[in-house]
């Protein structure tokens, strides 16, 4: 089963009289339990690519399938529903809701996307995820009471809360020191692999790529090179 399939995807931004090609005829397939690293210089199109893959942006051309669902022609409302149900995000800056506890930050996903699962079920799942992420004693702590690494782990838990087909990580270790970064990447790999979830990790950090099954390089909007990684 394919978790993500981009076929001839392009994204062009209009700036005055000029067209800026952020993504140029990109083709990418990510298997259901595959973890890939996406590297490239600033402005190369990494963010555009994962934004399109996660339903945050729509492509100018090409088609996008996530977990077999073709989201290419989705409107804003459909994309919102899709994001709530099919993908998980871990952002560069952790961006937890500051006045919610670790558990509540996970429950936000269920509540905001309409709470498909019952509240009790969602709470059980949130507690289970936090336990797995080594935050068993931190369920009721607010983000300011957590360390940087713990916050990022909560963010990982939030991304996994809706049992997504695909998790998109945007520089997940950029705000962490080397040691914490390694801990978080170990955790990400074990969680993603343990659940058979696909992951795309945008990074500048070469060490992160060692945790990936495959590394894709993007330059000037083109997926120029695919290299094997040593996971």
């Amino acid at each position: 089963m394919t978790a993500l399939q981009l076929d001839h995807v392009s994204k062009v931004y209009r700036s005055g009289d000029d067209d800026i090609v952020a993504l140029d005829d990109a083709n990418l397939t990510v298997a259901a339990d595959e973890m890939i690293g996406l590297i490239g210089p600033s402005g190369s199109g990494k963010t555009t690519l994962i934004s399109i893959a996660g339903g945050l942006l729509t492509p100018t051309e090409g088609s996008v399938l996530v977990g077999g669902e073709n989201i290419t022609g989705y409107n804003a409302k459909e994309l919102t529903r899709f994001r709530g149900e099919q993908v998980g995000f871990v952002f560069q800056t952790v961006n937890l809701v500051p006045f919610l506890t670790a558990r509540e930050n996970l429950l936000v996903v269920g509540e905001l996307s309409g709470g498909r699962a019952g509240r009790k079920q969602a709470t059980t799942r949130a507690d289970q995820l936090l336990d797995e992420l080594g935050l068993g004693h931190r369920h009721d702590n607010l983000p300011r009471q957590l360390s940087g690494g713990e916050r990022q782990r909560v963010a990982v838990g939030r991304a996994l809360m809706n049992e997504p087909k695909l998790v998109l990580f945007d520089e997940p270790t950029s705000a962490l020191d080397t040691h914490l970064g390694e801990q978080v990447m170990d955790l990400i790999r074990s969680e993603v692999k343990g659940r058979g979830t696909a992951a795309v990790i945008v990074t500048h950090d070469a060490r992160v790529t060692t945790y990936c099954d495959r590394v894709v390089t993007i330059i000037d909007g083109r997926l120029a090179e695919t290299a094997a990684a040593s996971a």
Partner: protein, 366 residues
Amino acid sequence: MRIALRELRRRPGRFGPVTAALILLTVLLLFLGGLLDGLYIGATGALRAQRAAVVVYSADANDSIIRSRLDTTTRAQIERISGVTAVGGLGISLLGAKVPGETTLADAAVIGYQRPPTGVPAVPPPGDAWADRRLEAFGVRVGQTLRLGPREVPIRVRGWVEDTNYLLQGSLWVAPDTWRRAQNASRPDAPFAAGEFQVFVADGPGDPGVLARRIDRATGNATATLTKDAAVLASPGTRQQKSTFNGIIGVTFVVVGLVVALFFALLTLERSPIYGVLKAIGTTTRRLFAGVLLQALIVATAAFLIGGLITLGLTSLLPARIPILLVGSRAITTFGGILLTAAIGGAISLRRIARIDPVTAIGTGT
């Protein structure tokens, strides 16, 4: 919704400034409303209590009871009109009353009447009066004899009535002859003869406006007849007071809306990054907006409750002679108005929330 409620619970201080501002505005609104109601009710009770469809003035009185004068001929003309079921005379004199044991004069409205209004018993014997409780603040007690006007006409207080005052003067409901004696003693230059009154109150079925026109036609336009509601508003200063106070109250409600709008616009601006993240993970603009609206309504409700208690406390400290009256209907309309303007103010943030792009949550590169 839960997020909005948790924010209110865990960060109450963040909503402190807007709550404090709304408390002050609530106190202001309730005070203004209380004064308006106090003035209106204190000025118009005698007319509001009338069991009549219309009030008949003399044509040259400019809708003023004090300036009006109608004789028995006019009364007979009115009584002959088909559809007029009852006619009663009414005369009002504004006089100072000497109260036994008190050094200051009580402001009194001596009202001679024939048809008992709502809440006023049958016409008392000559020399007796039903007194409005407003006069208690001047030291008036049942059984006392008050001395009215420059000639000190004696009137004995027989019992109490309520909400029957005229122009903020405590009413003394007396027999027509008693009123004429008091009136003629203070205005010997223009005495009222037996059977003469300042106005007549008339009743009859159907549209009061039609009845009023029929009366004026029947008297050859020697009269100017107003419906009871119009007569209430024609009381001196009443319409002006209402429009002035309502204007101030309206502007205050606009300020409530602006305060809420500004606060939540700033809050939304501050929350933009977190809203971006929430949108990215699947929340809808509608849910975020509902949260803002819920917070605005809860803050407004809390402010109203606290402001209401403060107003109650403050008004209990005011002297009884200040015409402020807190009535339930005013509190309800004020609460409704605050909720409505808070909701409108909160709604200003909708556009800003709608414009937050979830893609902003994810990096800044292309």
